[in-house]
Amino acid sequence: MPTVSMKVNGQSVSHDVADNTLLVTFLRETLGLTGTHIGCDTSQCGACVIHVNGASVKSCTMLAAQANGADVTTIEGIANGDELHPMQQAFHENHGLQCGFCTPGMIMSAIELVETNKNLSEQDIREGLEGNICRCTGYHNIVKSVQDAAQKMGG
Protein backbone atom coordinates (compact mmCIF):
# COMPACT_ATOMS: atom_id res chain seq x y z
CA MET A 1 0.00 0.00 0.00
CA PRO A 2 1.31 3.46 -0.83
CA THR A 3 2.15 5.96 1.87
CA VAL A 4 0.10 9.12 2.17
CA SER A 5 1.57 12.03 4.10
CA MET A 6 -0.03 15.32 4.95
CA LYS A 7 -0.30 17.92 7.65
CA VAL A 8 -3.56 17.63 9.58
CA ASN A 9 -4.41 20.37 12.06
CA GLY A 10 -0.75 21.34 12.16
CA GLN A 11 0.58 17.84 12.77
CA SER A 12 2.44 15.82 10.18
CA VAL A 13 0.90 12.40 9.61
CA SER A 14 1.97 9.54 7.39
CA HIS A 15 0.14 6.26 6.85
CA ASP A 16 -0.06 3.41 4.38
CA VAL A 17 -3.54 3.28 2.85
CA ALA A 18 -5.19 1.64 -0.15
CA ASP A 19 -5.32 3.83 -3.25
CA ASN A 20 -9.11 3.95 -3.24
CA THR A 21 -9.28 5.34 0.32
CA LEU A 22 -11.38 8.49 0.53
CA LEU A 23 -9.97 11.44 2.43
CA VAL A 24 -12.89 11.35 4.87
CA THR A 25 -12.21 7.69 5.60
CA PHE A 26 -8.54 8.45 6.17
CA LEU A 27 -9.45 11.19 8.64
CA ARG A 28 -12.11 9.24 10.52
CA GLU A 29 -10.78 5.70 10.50
CA THR A 30 -7.03 6.01 10.12
CA LEU A 31 -6.54 9.16 12.20
CA GLY A 32 -9.61 8.77 14.45
CA LEU A 33 -10.76 12.32 13.74
CA THR A 34 -14.48 11.60 13.78
CA GLY A 35 -15.60 15.22 13.97
CA THR A 36 -15.78 15.22 10.18
CA HIS A 37 -19.05 13.47 9.39
CA ILE A 38 -20.28 11.30 6.55
CA GLY A 39 -23.88 12.25 5.83
CA CYS A 40 -24.99 11.45 2.32
CA ASP A 41 -21.73 10.11 0.91
CA THR A 42 -22.83 11.49 -2.50
CA SER A 43 -21.27 15.00 -2.37
CA GLN A 44 -24.60 16.64 -1.60
CA CYS A 45 -24.87 17.30 2.12
CA GLY A 46 -21.58 18.90 3.16
CA ALA A 47 -21.27 17.20 6.58
CA CYS A 48 -17.75 16.17 5.51
CA VAL A 49 -16.45 19.64 4.59
CA ILE A 50 -12.86 20.33 5.62
CA HIS A 51 -10.15 22.69 4.38
CA VAL A 52 -7.44 21.46 2.03
CA ASN A 53 -4.75 24.09 1.50
CA GLY A 54 -7.23 26.68 2.73
CA ALA A 55 -10.08 25.77 0.38
CA SER A 56 -13.27 24.13 1.61
CA VAL A 57 -13.81 20.74 0.00
CA LYS A 58 -16.06 17.74 0.49
CA SER A 59 -13.73 15.11 1.91
CA CYS A 60 -16.05 12.30 0.76
CA THR A 61 -15.29 13.35 -2.82
CA MET A 62 -11.52 13.39 -2.68
CA LEU A 63 -9.06 10.54 -2.37
CA ALA A 64 -6.61 10.57 0.52
CA ALA A 65 -3.88 10.23 -2.12
CA GLN A 66 -5.00 13.49 -3.76
CA ALA A 67 -4.31 15.28 -0.48
CA ASN A 68 -0.78 13.86 -0.26
CA GLY A 69 1.46 16.74 0.79
CA ALA A 70 -1.47 19.02 1.56
CA ASP A 71 -2.24 21.14 4.59
CA VAL A 72 -5.56 19.89 5.97
CA THR A 73 -7.74 21.47 8.65
CA THR A 74 -10.71 19.70 10.22
CA ILE A 75 -13.26 20.77 12.83
CA GLU A 76 -10.89 19.43 15.52
CA GLY A 77 -8.23 21.93 14.47
CA ILE A 78 -9.96 25.30 14.70
CA ALA A 79 -10.36 25.93 18.44
CA ASN A 80 -7.51 27.53 20.35
CA GLY A 81 -7.18 25.13 23.26
CA ASP A 82 -10.33 25.51 25.34
CA GLU A 83 -11.29 28.66 23.51
CA LEU A 84 -13.77 27.98 20.73
CA HIS A 85 -13.22 29.43 17.27
CA PRO A 86 -15.44 32.55 16.84
CA MET A 87 -17.57 30.58 14.38
CA GLN A 88 -18.10 27.75 16.89
CA GLN A 89 -18.88 30.28 19.60
CA ALA A 90 -21.39 32.04 17.36
CA PHE A 91 -23.18 28.76 16.56
CA HIS A 92 -23.33 28.09 20.31
CA GLU A 93 -24.70 31.52 21.19
CA ASN A 94 -27.21 31.76 18.34
CA HIS A 95 -28.57 28.25 18.63
CA GLY A 96 -27.17 27.48 15.18
CA LEU A 97 -27.59 23.75 15.67
CA GLN A 98 -30.08 21.26 16.93
CA CYS A 99 -28.95 17.68 16.39
CA GLY A 100 -25.47 18.87 15.41
CA PHE A 101 -24.81 16.37 12.67
CA CYS A 102 -24.29 18.97 9.93
CA THR A 103 -22.50 21.41 12.23
CA PRO A 104 -18.84 20.48 11.59
CA GLY A 105 -19.34 20.89 7.85
CA MET A 106 -21.41 24.05 8.29
CA ILE A 107 -18.70 25.60 10.43
CA MET A 108 -15.86 24.68 8.09
CA SER A 109 -17.78 26.03 5.09
CA ALA A 110 -18.75 29.19 6.97
CA ILE A 111 -15.18 29.91 8.09
CA GLU A 112 -13.89 29.81 4.52
CA LEU A 113 -16.85 31.92 3.41
CA VAL A 114 -16.13 34.64 5.98
CA GLU A 115 -12.38 34.53 5.43
CA THR A 116 -12.81 35.20 1.70
CA ASN A 117 -15.45 37.93 2.06
CA LYS A 118 -15.70 40.12 5.13
CA ASN A 119 -18.82 41.96 3.90
CA LEU A 120 -21.27 39.14 3.47
CA SER A 121 -24.92 39.91 2.91
CA GLU A 122 -27.54 37.48 4.17
CA GLN A 123 -27.99 36.36 0.56
CA ASP A 124 -24.23 35.76 0.22
CA ILE A 125 -24.32 33.55 3.30
CA ARG A 126 -27.31 31.55 2.10
CA GLU A 127 -25.73 31.04 -1.31
CA GLY A 128 -22.34 30.31 0.24
CA LEU A 129 -23.81 27.52 2.33
CA GLU A 130 -25.61 25.97 -0.63
CA GLY A 131 -23.42 22.88 -0.36
CA ASN A 132 -24.39 22.20 3.26
CA ILE A 133 -27.71 20.64 4.17
CA CYS A 134 -29.30 20.92 7.62
CA ARG A 135 -32.49 19.01 8.36
CA CYS A 136 -33.21 20.60 11.77
CA THR A 137 -32.89 24.34 11.96
CA GLY A 138 -34.44 25.68 8.79
CA TYR A 139 -31.12 27.54 8.35
CA HIS A 140 -32.37 30.71 10.04
CA ASN A 141 -30.15 30.47 13.11
CA ILE A 142 -27.24 29.15 11.06
CA VAL A 143 -27.32 32.30 8.96
CA LYS A 144 -27.59 34.38 12.13
CA SER A 145 -24.59 32.54 13.57
CA VAL A 146 -22.48 33.23 10.50
CA GLN A 147 -23.47 36.91 10.51
CA ASP A 148 -22.49 37.13 14.18
CA ALA A 149 -19.18 35.34 13.62
CA ALA A 150 -18.38 37.48 10.57
CA GLN A 151 -18.55 40.58 12.78
CA LYS A 152 -16.33 39.02 15.42
CA MET A 153 -13.88 37.80 12.80
CA GLY A 154 -13.35 41.37 11.61
CA GLY A 155 -16.17 41.83 9.12
Binding site: A55, V57, T61, N68
Partner: protein, 263 residues
Protein backbone atom coordinates in the same frame (compact mmCIF):
# COMPACT_ATOMS: atom_id res chain seq x y z
CA UNK B 1 -15.40 1.82 -4.70
CA UNK B 2 -13.59 -1.01 -6.49
CA UNK B 3 -9.86 -1.30 -5.96
CA UNK B 4 -7.82 0.83 -8.33
CA UNK B 5 -4.28 2.14 -8.69
CA UNK B 6 -3.70 5.86 -8.22
CA UNK B 7 -0.79 7.58 -9.90
CA UNK B 8 0.06 11.25 -10.15
CA UNK B 9 1.39 12.27 -13.54
CA UNK B 10 4.43 14.55 -13.67
CA UNK B 11 3.33 16.33 -16.84
CA UNK B 12 0.98 15.91 -19.80
CA UNK B 13 3.34 13.62 -21.71
CA UNK B 14 3.71 11.41 -18.64
CA UNK B 15 -0.06 11.32 -18.17
CA UNK B 16 -0.58 10.38 -21.83
CA UNK B 17 2.00 7.58 -21.54
CA UNK B 18 0.40 6.24 -18.35
CA UNK B 19 -3.06 6.44 -19.92
CA UNK B 20 -1.90 4.58 -23.03
CA UNK B 21 -0.23 1.90 -20.90
CA UNK B 22 -3.29 1.22 -18.72
CA UNK B 23 -5.90 -1.37 -19.65
CA UNK B 24 -8.77 0.86 -18.62
CA UNK B 25 -7.25 4.04 -17.24
CA UNK B 26 -9.19 7.15 -16.30
CA UNK B 27 -7.89 10.67 -15.98
CA UNK B 28 -8.64 12.26 -12.62
CA UNK B 29 -9.15 16.02 -12.83
CA UNK B 30 -11.22 17.60 -10.05
CA UNK B 31 -12.97 14.30 -9.40
CA UNK B 32 -16.36 15.84 -8.66
CA UNK B 33 -18.10 13.59 -11.18
CA UNK B 34 -15.60 10.75 -11.43
CA UNK B 35 -15.33 9.99 -7.71
CA UNK B 36 -19.10 9.80 -7.11
CA UNK B 37 -19.29 7.56 -10.18
CA UNK B 38 -16.60 5.27 -8.77
CA UNK B 39 -18.24 5.25 -5.34
CA UNK B 40 -21.46 4.01 -6.91
CA UNK B 41 -19.43 1.32 -8.69
CA UNK B 42 -20.61 2.57 -12.05
CA UNK B 43 -17.03 2.42 -13.31
CA UNK B 44 -14.03 0.32 -12.39
CA UNK B 45 -10.88 1.74 -13.99
CA UNK B 46 -7.71 -0.17 -13.18
CA UNK B 47 -5.75 3.06 -13.00
CA UNK B 48 -6.55 6.64 -11.97
CA UNK B 49 -4.10 9.15 -13.43
CA UNK B 50 -4.19 12.40 -11.48
CA UNK B 51 -3.52 15.51 -13.57
CA UNK B 52 -3.11 17.82 -10.56
CA UNK B 53 0.68 17.94 -10.89
CA UNK B 54 0.76 18.70 -14.61
CA UNK B 55 0.77 22.49 -14.35
CA UNK B 56 -2.53 22.91 -16.17
CA UNK B 57 -4.13 25.45 -13.85
CA UNK B 58 -3.92 28.95 -15.33
CA UNK B 59 -5.97 31.79 -16.75
CA UNK B 60 -4.46 34.15 -19.31
CA UNK B 61 -6.04 36.90 -21.35
CA UNK B 62 -4.79 37.74 -24.81
CA UNK B 63 -6.27 40.49 -26.97
CA UNK B 64 -9.57 38.94 -27.88
CA UNK B 65 -9.71 35.68 -25.97
CA UNK B 66 -9.21 34.05 -22.59
CA UNK B 67 -7.25 30.83 -22.32
CA UNK B 68 -8.06 28.61 -19.36
CA UNK B 69 -5.89 25.67 -18.37
CA UNK B 70 -7.75 22.36 -18.20
CA UNK B 71 -7.19 21.91 -14.45
CA UNK B 72 -8.40 25.41 -13.51
CA UNK B 73 -11.18 25.03 -10.96
CA UNK B 74 -14.56 26.72 -11.33
CA UNK B 75 -13.94 29.00 -8.34
CA UNK B 76 -10.79 30.42 -9.96
CA UNK B 77 -12.66 31.17 -13.20
CA UNK B 78 -15.61 32.70 -11.32
CA UNK B 79 -13.37 34.95 -9.22
CA UNK B 80 -10.84 36.02 -11.86
CA UNK B 81 -11.11 39.74 -12.56
CA UNK B 82 -10.15 39.45 -16.24
CA UNK B 83 -12.86 36.85 -16.80
CA UNK B 84 -15.46 38.95 -15.01
CA UNK B 85 -14.52 42.02 -17.06
CA UNK B 86 -14.19 40.36 -20.47
CA UNK B 87 -16.81 37.66 -20.26
CA UNK B 88 -19.33 38.13 -17.45
CA UNK B 89 -21.47 35.27 -18.74
CA UNK B 90 -18.55 32.90 -18.32
CA UNK B 91 -17.77 34.15 -14.81
CA UNK B 92 -21.36 33.76 -13.67
CA UNK B 93 -21.60 30.31 -15.27
CA UNK B 94 -18.51 29.11 -13.41
CA UNK B 95 -19.80 30.67 -10.18
CA UNK B 96 -23.10 28.82 -10.47
CA UNK B 97 -21.83 25.26 -10.95
CA UNK B 98 -22.67 22.87 -8.11
CA UNK B 99 -21.82 24.46 -4.78
CA UNK B 100 -18.85 26.26 -3.28
CA UNK B 101 -16.98 23.06 -2.41
CA UNK B 102 -17.58 21.54 -5.84
CA UNK B 103 -16.30 24.77 -7.42
CA UNK B 104 -13.11 24.55 -5.37
CA UNK B 105 -12.31 21.17 -6.96
CA UNK B 106 -14.18 20.73 -10.26
CA UNK B 107 -12.33 21.78 -13.41
CA UNK B 108 -13.19 23.13 -16.84
CA UNK B 109 -11.25 20.33 -18.53
CA UNK B 110 -13.09 17.66 -16.59
CA UNK B 111 -16.47 19.20 -17.32
CA UNK B 112 -15.81 19.57 -21.03
CA UNK B 113 -14.29 16.09 -21.38
CA UNK B 114 -17.23 14.46 -19.58
CA UNK B 115 -19.77 16.33 -21.75
CA UNK B 116 -22.64 15.66 -19.38
CA UNK B 117 -25.82 16.72 -21.23
CA UNK B 118 -26.76 18.87 -18.23
CA UNK B 119 -23.33 20.39 -17.54
CA UNK B 120 -22.93 24.17 -17.79
CA UNK B 121 -19.49 24.61 -19.38
CA UNK B 122 -20.29 22.99 -22.75
CA UNK B 123 -22.87 25.75 -23.34
CA UNK B 124 -20.21 28.44 -22.89
CA UNK B 125 -17.60 26.67 -25.00
CA UNK B 126 -20.05 26.14 -27.88
CA UNK B 127 -21.72 29.55 -27.71
CA UNK B 128 -18.36 31.32 -27.64
CA UNK B 129 -16.96 29.24 -30.49
CA UNK B 130 -14.12 28.06 -28.28
CA UNK B 131 -11.16 25.88 -29.11
CA UNK B 132 -10.20 22.81 -27.08
CA UNK B 133 -6.44 22.31 -26.93
CA UNK B 134 -5.33 18.73 -26.35
CA UNK B 135 -2.14 16.72 -26.06
CA UNK B 136 -2.47 16.05 -29.79
CA UNK B 137 -4.25 18.92 -31.55
CA UNK B 138 -6.69 21.80 -31.40
CA UNK B 139 -10.38 20.97 -31.77
CA UNK B 140 -13.12 23.52 -32.56
CA UNK B 141 -16.10 23.41 -30.19
CA UNK B 142 -18.39 22.63 -33.14
CA UNK B 143 -16.46 19.41 -33.77
CA UNK B 144 -15.80 18.52 -30.13
CA UNK B 145 -19.21 17.81 -28.58
CA UNK B 146 -20.32 14.68 -30.42
CA UNK B 147 -23.22 13.39 -28.30
CA UNK B 148 -24.38 12.57 -24.80
CA UNK B 149 -21.22 11.99 -22.70
CA UNK B 150 -19.35 11.72 -25.98
CA UNK B 151 -16.61 13.95 -27.41
CA UNK B 152 -14.15 13.93 -30.29
CA UNK B 153 -11.32 13.02 -27.90
CA UNK B 154 -9.32 9.88 -28.66
CA UNK B 155 -8.95 7.32 -25.88
CA UNK B 156 -5.45 8.52 -25.04
CA UNK B 157 -5.98 12.25 -25.68
CA UNK B 158 -5.82 14.80 -22.87
CA UNK B 159 -7.33 18.29 -22.79
CA UNK B 160 -4.69 20.83 -21.81
CA UNK B 161 -6.59 24.12 -22.14
CA UNK B 162 -9.66 25.81 -23.58
CA UNK B 163 -9.54 29.14 -25.44
CA UNK B 164 -12.72 31.20 -25.38
CA UNK B 165 -13.10 34.26 -27.65
CA UNK B 166 -14.22 37.42 -25.86
CA UNK B 167 -17.71 38.51 -26.94
CA UNK B 168 -19.12 42.03 -26.88
CA UNK B 169 -21.77 40.83 -24.42
CA UNK B 170 -22.50 37.53 -22.76
CA UNK B 171 -24.79 35.98 -20.19
CA UNK B 172 -25.68 32.51 -18.99
CA UNK B 173 -28.96 31.69 -17.28
CA UNK B 174 -29.96 28.25 -16.13
CA UNK B 175 -33.08 26.76 -14.67
CA UNK B 176 -31.49 24.50 -12.09
CA UNK B 177 -33.00 21.24 -10.97
CA UNK B 178 -34.05 22.09 -7.41
CA UNK B 179 -32.28 19.05 -5.97
CA UNK B 180 -29.17 18.40 -8.07
CA UNK B 181 -28.58 21.99 -9.27
CA UNK B 182 -27.73 20.63 -12.69
CA UNK B 183 -29.25 22.63 -15.52
CA UNK B 184 -32.70 21.42 -16.54
CA UNK B 185 -32.14 24.02 -19.23
CA UNK B 186 -29.20 26.41 -19.45
CA UNK B 187 -28.74 29.00 -22.20
CA UNK B 188 -25.53 30.89 -22.98
CA UNK B 189 -25.96 33.98 -25.16
CA UNK B 190 -22.89 35.60 -26.72
CA UNK B 191 -23.01 38.68 -28.92
CA UNK B 192 -20.12 39.10 -31.36
CA UNK B 193 -19.54 41.77 -34.03
CA UNK B 194 -20.64 39.31 -36.72
CA UNK B 195 -23.70 37.91 -34.97
CA UNK B 196 -25.17 36.31 -31.89
CA UNK B 197 -24.41 32.74 -30.86
CA UNK B 198 -26.69 30.83 -28.49
CA UNK B 199 -25.99 27.40 -27.02
CA UNK B 200 -28.37 25.27 -24.96
CA UNK B 201 -27.45 22.67 -22.35
CA UNK B 202 -29.62 20.40 -20.22
CA UNK B 203 -32.20 19.93 -22.94
CA UNK B 204 -30.84 18.06 -25.95
CA UNK B 205 -30.88 14.28 -26.27
CA UNK B 206 -27.46 14.60 -27.91
CA UNK B 207 -26.15 17.09 -25.38
CA UNK B 208 -25.33 20.75 -25.97
CA UNK B 209 -26.57 22.38 -29.19
CA UNK B 210 -26.90 25.78 -30.85
CA UNK B 211 -30.36 27.33 -31.13
CA UNK B 212 -30.28 28.72 -34.67
CA UNK B 213 -33.76 30.32 -34.64
CA UNK B 214 -32.94 32.22 -31.46
CA UNK B 215 -29.56 33.22 -32.89
CA UNK B 216 -31.20 34.60 -36.05
CA UNK B 217 -33.79 36.58 -34.10
CA UNK B 218 -31.18 38.07 -31.77
CA UNK B 219 -28.74 38.81 -34.58
CA UNK B 220 -31.52 40.80 -36.29
CA UNK B 221 -32.19 42.70 -33.07
CA UNK B 222 -30.41 42.04 -29.78
CA UNK B 223 -33.42 42.52 -27.54
CA UNK B 224 -35.36 40.12 -25.32
CA UNK B 225 -38.51 41.25 -27.14
CA UNK B 226 -37.12 39.67 -30.31
CA UNK B 227 -38.04 36.33 -28.77
CA UNK B 228 -41.68 37.24 -28.10
CA UNK B 229 -43.99 34.57 -29.45
CA UNK B 230 -41.14 32.27 -30.44
CA UNK B 231 -41.63 28.55 -29.89
CA UNK B 232 -39.01 25.80 -30.02
CA UNK B 233 -39.60 22.38 -31.51
CA UNK B 234 -39.72 19.51 -29.03
CA UNK B 235 -37.86 17.27 -31.48
CA UNK B 236 -34.64 15.95 -30.01
CA UNK B 237 -35.31 17.33 -26.53
CA UNK B 238 -35.01 15.20 -23.40
CA UNK B 239 -38.04 14.16 -21.38
CA UNK B 240 -37.66 12.74 -17.88
CA UNK B 241 -39.26 12.87 -14.44
CA UNK B 242 -38.06 16.47 -14.05
CA UNK B 243 -39.41 17.99 -17.25
CA UNK B 244 -41.15 16.99 -20.46
CA UNK B 245 -39.71 17.91 -23.88
CA UNK B 246 -42.49 20.52 -24.21
CA UNK B 247 -41.54 22.13 -20.91
CA UNK B 248 -37.86 22.14 -21.83
CA UNK B 249 -38.73 23.74 -25.19
CA UNK B 250 -40.55 26.49 -23.32
CA UNK B 251 -37.67 26.93 -20.87
CA UNK B 252 -35.13 27.36 -23.68
CA UNK B 253 -36.88 30.45 -25.02
CA UNK B 254 -37.48 31.79 -21.52
CA UNK B 255 -33.87 31.27 -20.36
CA UNK B 256 -32.66 32.90 -23.61
CA UNK B 257 -34.93 35.87 -22.95
CA UNK B 258 -33.58 36.23 -19.42
CA UNK B 259 -29.99 35.88 -20.64
CA UNK B 260 -30.45 38.70 -23.15
CA UNK B 261 -32.04 40.85 -20.45
CA UNK B 262 -29.03 40.13 -18.22
CA UNK B 263 -26.47 41.18 -20.86
Amino acid sequence: MYATDYVKAADVADAAAKLAAADDGKLLAGGQTLLPTLKQRLASPDKLIDLAGCGLSSISKSGDAIKIGAMTCHADVANHKDVAAANPGLASLAGGIGDRQVRNCGTIGGSVANNDPAACYPAAVLALGGTIHTSKRDIAAEDFFVGMFETALDEDEIITAVTLPTPQKSAYIKFPNPASRYAMVGVFVAQFADGVRVAVTGAGEDGVFRASDIEAALTAKFDAASLDGMTMSEDGLMGDIHASPAYRAHLIVEMARRAVAAC
